[in-house]
């Protein structure tokens, strides 16, 4: 019995190879050829800008709080005009699991996922990305959203000049 099994075992792989030689090819010749990713593929994270070209990130620490692997760290600071922004912002991609929870937590649409995934390298420190590398010069998704137009503090426009706001009240007015 065993000799027949051995003969079958020798010939069968040749047969499978021969059979598949005439089937359509499914392997993509990466990196020469790129596959099409799913529209909601979660790859590298970016920090986007608002329509005015300013950084969207206000360093509210919600993404770092939401991150299940603690790969995001940052320090918030204040600009002259009262804008809150990240003095530094660091993502450790060797720890990141690309779950996208940070983008769900982000109240200003600043942190977004992209389809970019080619971040492998031989130096572990190079997988730690700083704010300069994360920041892009476009709005990503939600191209019209500007958090500071809805926040009610006078950063993008003067106080009371944003949509949905009344002019500042005169506190010394006693009129009914």
């Amino acid at each position: 019995m065993s000799i027949w099994r051995d003969i079958k075992g020798t010939i069968e792989p040749f047969w499978i190879t021969l059979r598949n030689m005439f089937r359509p090819v499914v392997t993509v010749e990466y990196p020469e050829v790129r596959t099409e990713l799913a529209p909601r593929y979660r790859g590298r994270l970016i920090l986007t800008r608002d329509p005015d070209g300013q950084e969207r990130c206000v360093a509210c620490y919600l993404c770092s709080a939401a991150c299940p692997v603690d790969c995001i760290s940052m320090q918030a600071t204040e600009a002259e005009d009262g804008r809150r922004y990240a003095a530094w912002f660091r993502i450790n991609f060797s720890r990141c699991i690309f779950c996208g929870l940070c983008t769900e937590a982000c109240p200003t649409m600043a942190i977004q996922v992209t389809g970019f995934f080619e971040m492998a390298n031989r130096n572990p420190l190079e997988t730690v990305w700083e704010k300069e590398e994360l920041l892009v010069d476009h709005c990503g998704q939600e191209p019209d959203y500007n958090f500071y137009h809805h926040a009610g503090i006078g950063v993008a426009a003067a106080r009371g000049e944003n949509p949905g706001e009344d002019k500042p009240v005169d506190v010394k007015d006693l009129m009914p």
């Binding site: 009610g152 009240v169 009914p176």
Partner: protein
Amino acid sequence: MPTLTIDNQTVIVAEGGSVLDAAIALGIVVPHYCYHPALGAVGACRQCAVTILEGSQKGLKMACLIPAEDDMQVSTCEEEAVAFRAQVGEWLMTNHPHDCPVCDEGGECQLQEMTIGAGHGIRRYRGNKRTYLNQDLGPFVAQEMNRCIQCYRCVRTYKDYCGGEDFGVMGSQQRVFFGRFKDGPLESDFSGNLIDFCPTGVFTDRTNRFRTRSWDLQQAPSICPHCSLGCSILPGGRYQELQRVRAGGNRLTNDSFICDRARFGSDWNNHPKRPREARISGEKVEFPYALELLEERLEKLVEEYGGETLRLLGSPRASFEANLLLKKLAEKYGAPAPYYDAHPRRAFAARMAASIPSGQLASLKQLRESDLILLVGVDPLAEAPVLALALRQAARAGARIVALDPRPLELPCDFEHHPLTQESLLRGLSAPEENELLESLRQQLETSQRPVLVGGGELLGGEGLRLLLHFSESCCGSHDCLIFPVLHGPNSFGGGILGATGDSNRNLIEDLENGNVRALICVETDPAIEHSEPGRMQLALSRLELLAVFDHLPTNTVATADIFLPTRTIYECAGTFINNEGRMQAFDPVLEPGIPIVVTGSGGHPPRQFETTPPGSAPRSAVHLLQWLLKDRNDLFGLRRQIIKELPCLRDLDRLAAGDNGRRIADCGDTLEESRTEIWAQEGELQVLPITARYGSDLYSRWSQSLTSRFEEPSVWIHPVEAAERGFVNGQKVVLRTVVGHFHLPLVFKAKMARGRLIVPCLPGTPLEVFTPGGLSLPCKIYSEVDNA
């Protein structure tokens, strides 16, 4: 004590408690904003609606306003009450901006929690939101009025509780505004409490703006190191940087309130010049090497010249454990008992305060409940700010407050001020029956129900405190007249307990000067700043063969020490302080010691390389260093058990936990028999009295960069009549000549101060830093600049 049932759970509340108190005790969440345990209820926010099923008032009621009754039946989940709370939550949110991501309160915001708790989630109102223009309230508090929900807690905190006069409510209808009449820094020394008490982000900490979220903070209950009151605080830090301090909640001491010095004066911990490496003659070395060298040199010195030539200096800044270990180190080397305060007069005051029978010491809570308070030689806002708050609470409850003090006192309440000079105060106390004022006060103290005498150790000294104790005994009628001594540092009292058995007549500076002493170990103290004669001390220190310093502040003595060992601050180690009322309170470490990331990354990205310093090279606590020298292997708990064996009056020490209410010491023994002759100047001679300034005089606020905006300009104060006799005008530049040097200063008129005296506040970084408060007044001469030339 009424027993009532809420949501089918039965609870007993204290007499006078409300239904809301009962619900909170049970852990049932009833949303509320205007109610706060320290402020009481006003029923303004209408958020805490519950249904009273059985009781004298039935139906939908505000839980904070309904007193708990026996056999009351309350439901928090009746449909009507739930709908009411959701509706109120939605109303309160109609104008609240969409700015939680840029609000510092986010994450610890009562409005966030209570809105969700009230059942409001999705905004339905589509109209415009109201906006306000904010005010600039100075360097401590940032305002964002758009977030306001008009709960009035800020006014009740700032005006009613803290007695601030420059803040209030303005406007009507939809324009109600909480702030100052004009932009400008908040004047009250308790302005920071607005930050704690605002349930949302209208008032936030400007010194900690945008630095952190509450969930990222490392926090631990601690004790404020700025004065002797030992207020409980809750410091928080991150990335090896101490970032903020909030009030703790010890109802027996500070009761949820702290002063601005405590709240905003904590960045000395992150001082860029803070010494963090061991040094031998200024050269940086590994700390085990420095420690071994210190031991070697001490042993050699003791062998050659005997233990008599070694002196040890503890400190009111160091923990009780460290001070006790210092005593053991002295025993080990056969050295005389250590000193616990570099300033001899303050040390005597601490010893005297520690010898007052513990039953006669008042707590801040008893002070708040007192009906007659006599302040003798104490300026609460400078020496112990939260004491001023306690006085205000007593005054609000109808107490009379009488102050005898040479300084132009300010208090956040009505009081009677008798501006007596330091000398006439002491002389009066030594023979109260001959003094008309004291005699009439004695009679009033006898007839009042709960009188308290507050004595300032700085002005009165130990001798004055002893006289005050006798005075209080003379006015004990049917009840005890309690004493509240105000001392210098957070552990002055502890030093007083330890120092009581030592030979108190030794004089450190004279021993140093005549060469009897060859080596001095200073633990968390700088005698060249804290001694009553800093210049003389500095000279004396330079004659030492071996000066070893354990400290964490960048003082001059640290730089000139032969062997320097860095220590951990109170935010980096555990320990115990004993406050001025004899309350032992423990503190826990908040952070690991290390250079803050904001420094290593110079504000930008933290460096990416791995640690360059070997593990274990971070500073150790003073307790650890002393234990190493003593070869003592106890942990902190074991150490405390050992202390109890030696000092039975501290028998509750091992039951302390950081964040609890602390435990009072038992009587340590007989009242100190020690007495010291002081030569009090006569009336009529012009004398200058150096006093503690409100900001900058204690060593911690001296190195707090955020407090520098509150430092006063150097000046010399004079009574206008005194000035007129000498032909001076207000603001005139004068020359003040004293034994410690002469100073060019502007003259400032203070109508409420004592006659015959000049007063200078001791301010760091100015020529006036050579004065040390806590002594007697000094002879002086004053000239106008023209005459001097």
